[in-house]
């Protein structure tokens, strides 16, 4: 279709036309890019919110276990089920450990085609290892144990804080989270060169979990550490923690790759993780730590802690606080009601500043009963951190109360370093989104840097679209090295190169050849679809709660609810801090005059039902909502890591979960469930089959 134009046009008109045409095209394109960017940020938020909600979940579960440990009688069978995860590293003599981890009896037979290692480790050995992993070979269990043993011995000689002096001739390379993404590590080595005494590296934690090659990454990093102990520096991350590993895939990976020796390998790694240094300082000026800081961060204190006491940063040492834990459970319920959350209604003006977490973006508006300050205070109290300290100080019924308080202090220092995140506002408040550590503000950065005579803080812990990000007046850098973290095309990875002038230079990359060819538009669309899928699953999982909440606004049972109510209610139930009104067009197919049919909407989420016939909806719902929790509990209970648990253990798992969640599930329902999933009728349940049967499948993905 075209407008009629005369063939012979005056020159001026032709110019005029060309300019108008160019202008129109430019405007169109720029608008398109802006919309893409907005969508990308929105997608980002979705992934991040779900990720952090999962972490929060994990910590709640772990706190619940702690509660059990402290409050159940010693004879209780539930307690016995989980007590082994709390057993402190027994004060064994080194010789005993040596015997336990002895690799000498493990024979390397002729059928093994992987790399052979000799010790002491040399450069050619570790580069052989890198090549082998590049070709997807697996290292023999004997060599794994040997390498890990050597690493453990070495790490014990390191201080809590590594000090590095920048040298005239060398640049130091700093990498962030890798999370099992071997392809990213290989890409870094390709772009930057392998570690050596001329090429020092700092790896800032979170080497494991989520990705498929966590173990290979560890072995490579430890290999280089053994060869160049003065030039390779590893910082502990919050995922270098066996409890976290239970949930996020590392435990599963190791047990899957090493069926016979996996358990030993995991135990040895547990000890190695606790021996990893907590921070690195360059030239006494640049602090590198995985999570961040808090207003109480004291490097001198940290230098003195007995770091190996903290096998898992999630649990404080020997904390026996009476009232505290119950309060925490109460608070959890209050959280579930979301009383402190105002319905965050994102108006379009906020698009450039989408709420990453509702905490940072709660608008002060007339709808709120409390002022922002009051709400923040309430959150502090609800977190239980201050509570714990109060209770502790007030009680005098233990002999070791003094030691316990120092322990608590130390523990807080470590948790803050591994779990905290920066925030734009001043101050320092508990990090409730993750469940551990703090949110710290630019004033805290200035103060801590000043107090410790530092000029820059480099941390990781948060995924960034471009692989890195400055904040707090460029005094804090977040560096993240796992590209495509949420989804193919979701983000780039980056690393820092720094010379003696201590000026950071950033190199960015994105692994995987396919995504480089994707156009901007395609990769945003892809990631977006993936995020929406994840979000739809979350919505489905909470459908009963959602429907009951919607019904509060539908007293006449018409099945309709206004879009405004839909948005505020969904936020209240899901607690993800997402801009639901902005997302509505992609989640709700049709509205009429600002109203929507919510029953129909839930149906349209297009998630398939499980393959099993379960009539009890309560169990179903609980299953979906607590998929990860269940898996974690299973893996804890399955002490011999066989992948099978007995009916009795299965029942106990549900008992545990039931008490944690305070839901009503009849014993009969659980027994029926057990029967129906014992597929081969041998009286035991295969964990993987069970979880697979309940994995939610988004059928719309097949369209």
């Amino acid at each position: 279709m075209g407008c009629g134009m005369g063939k012979s046009e005056p020159l001026l008109k032709k110019c005029h036309q060309a300019i108008s045409a160019a202008l129109l095209i430019q405007r169109w394109y720029r608008q398109h890019v802006a919309r893409l960017e907005m969508r990308r940020r929105c997608t980002w938020n979705i992934f991040q919110s779900i990720e952090y909600a999962g972490e929060q979940d994990q910590i709640k579960l772990y706190n619940f276990f702690g509660f059990l440990m402290d409050h159940f009688t010693p004879a209780s069978s539930e307690r016995n089920l989980i007590s082994h995860i709390f057993r402190k590293n027994e004060i064994c003599r080194d010789t005993e450990w040596e015997r336990y981890f002895c690799y000498k009896s493990i024979e390397v037979t002729k059928i093994y085609t992987g790399p052979h290692l000799t010790f002491p480790m040399m450069f050619c050995g570790v580069s052989k290892l890198v090549e082998a992993f590049k070709h997807k070979e697996q290292l023999h269990a004997r060599y794994v144990l040997q390498l890990l043993g050597e690493t453990w011995r070495l790490l014990r000689t390191f201080p809590n804080i590594s000090h590095v002096i920048a040298c005239h001739t060398k640049q130091i390379t700093i990498c962030g989270d890798l999370h099992g993404h071997l392809e990213d590590l290989l890409l870094i080595f390709y772009k930057n060169g392998l570690p050596s005494s001329d090429k020092p590296y700092v790896f800032n934690g979170d080497f494991v979990d989520r990705g498929k090659n966590s173990l290979e990454i560890l072995l490579i990093l430890f290999g280089f550490l053994l060869v160049y102990p003065n030039d390779v520096h590893l910082n502990r991350g919050n995922h270098e923690d066996h409890i976290v590993n239970l949930r996020y895939g590392f435990t599963k990976e190791v047990l899957g790759k090493y069926r016979v020796h996996g358990k030993k390998i995991l135990k040895l790694l547990q000890m190695i993780f606790s021996w990893l240094p907590l921070a690195t300082v360059i030239d006494n000026k640049v602090l590198i730590v995985h999570g961040g800081i808090s207003d109480t961060t004291d490097l001198d204190k940290i230098a003195c802690v007995d770091r190996q006491k903290y096998a898992s940063a999630l649990r404080p040492p020997k904390m026996k606080v009476h009232g505290c834990m119950t309060k925490m459970n109460e608070n959890r319920e209050r959280e579930a009601c979301g009383q402190w959350k105002a319905g965050v209604d994102s108006a379009p003006d906020h698009w450039h500043d989408l709420p990453r977490r509702s905490l940072n973006n709660t608008p002060v508006c007339s709808k709120l009963d409390l002022s922002v300050d009051e709400k923040l205070n309430r959150r502090c109290r609800l977190s239980g951190f201050d509570q714990a300290r109060c209770e502790l100080k007030n009680s005098d019924s233990y002999l070791e109360s003094k030691t316990t308080e120092t322990d608590l202090d130390e523990w807080k220092q470590i948790v803050d370093m591994l779990w905290s995140d920066p925030m734009p506002q001043n101050g320092c408040i508990p990090n409730e989104v993750r469940g551990g550590g703090c949110y710290w503000g630019p004033d805290v950065t200035e103060e801590v840097l000043r107090r410790n005579n530092l000029q820059l803080l480099i941390r990781s812990h948060e995924c960034k679209q471009d692989g890195y990000e400055f904040c707090h007046n460029r005094r804090v850098i977040t560096i993240f090295s796992a590209s495509n973290y949420y989804e193919v095309g979701s983000n780039r990875g980056a690393f820092i190169r720094m010379g003696p002038d201590l000026v950071p230079h950033f190199i960015q990359y994105q692994a995987s050849t396919t995504c480089r060819e994707l156009t901007l538009r395609q990769s945003v669309g892809w990631t977006e679809r993936s995020a929406l899928q994840a979000l739809r699953k979350q919505l489905f999982v909470h459908r009963s709660d959602l429907i009951s909440a919607f019904q509060e606004f539908d007293p006449n049972n018409k099945g309709m609810i206004s879009v405004t109510h839909w948005a505020s209610t969904t936020e209240r139930v899901l607690n993800l801090g997402l801009p639901w009104r902005v997302l509505r067009p992609q989640l709700v197919s049709s509205t009429q005059h600002g109203m929507m049919d919510y029953q129909q909407w839930i149906k349209e989420l297009s998630i398939t039902e499980p393959k099993l016939e379960i009539s009890d909806n309560n169990i179903l719902d609980t299953m979906y909502k607590n998929h990860s929790n269940l898996e974690t509990i299973f893996r804890i209970i399955d002490t011999d890591h066989s992948g099978l648990i007995s009916f009795k253990e299965f029942h106990q798992t549900w008992e545990l979960l039931r008490s944690h969640l305070k839901t009503e599930i009849s014993a009969k329902a659980i027994a029926d469930l057990a029967q129906s999933i014992d597929f081969n009728k041998d009286g035991s349940i295969d964990i993987n089959e069970f979880l697979e049967a309940f994995r939610l499948v988004d059928i719309s993905a097949h369209n």
């Binding site: 279709m1 075209g2 407008c3 009629g4 001026l12 110019c15 005029h16 036309q17 060309a18 300019i19 108008s20 045409a21 160019a22 202008l23 129109l24 095209i25 430019q26 405007r27 169109w28 394109y29 608008q31 398109h32 890019v33 919309r35 060819e517 156009t519 901007l520 538009r521 067009p585």
Partner: protein, 150 residues
Amino acid sequence: MAESKQSAEATVSDVQKKIRAAFEAFDYESNNTVDVREIGTIIYSLGCFPSQADLHDLIAEVEEDQTGYIHLDSFLPVMSKDLLLQAFEVLDKEKRGYLEPEELTKYMTQEGEIFTQEEMDEMLTALADHEKNVVYYKDLINQLTIDPDM
């Protein structure tokens, strides 16, 4: 050149205004809808002379579910799409259906609200067909419609 640019800018927003004005003239109930039978008249009044087939296609695209009415919100983007197509056709003098990267670059970086080199590179990466290395603008316009709601 500056005056041309100013007047060109005016032309672009002028056109949008013209479309709205033409629409309003036939919007008897002041609810931003017009009877589908009036669409032909509206379009002719804007100085465009589509064939009957083209007109038919346009109506099929914008009519609200056989109601016999067309809403401004559906009409505007389609007309805008059409204008955009014309804009590309002005640059594609031989009407080949595509633009070479160099041609597009010349216009984008020299006329109108000039693109930076970075923007230009990004645009070509995003829009150019990877194999043939040309910009098939017709398909792109259809795929990347401007949604007035967003």
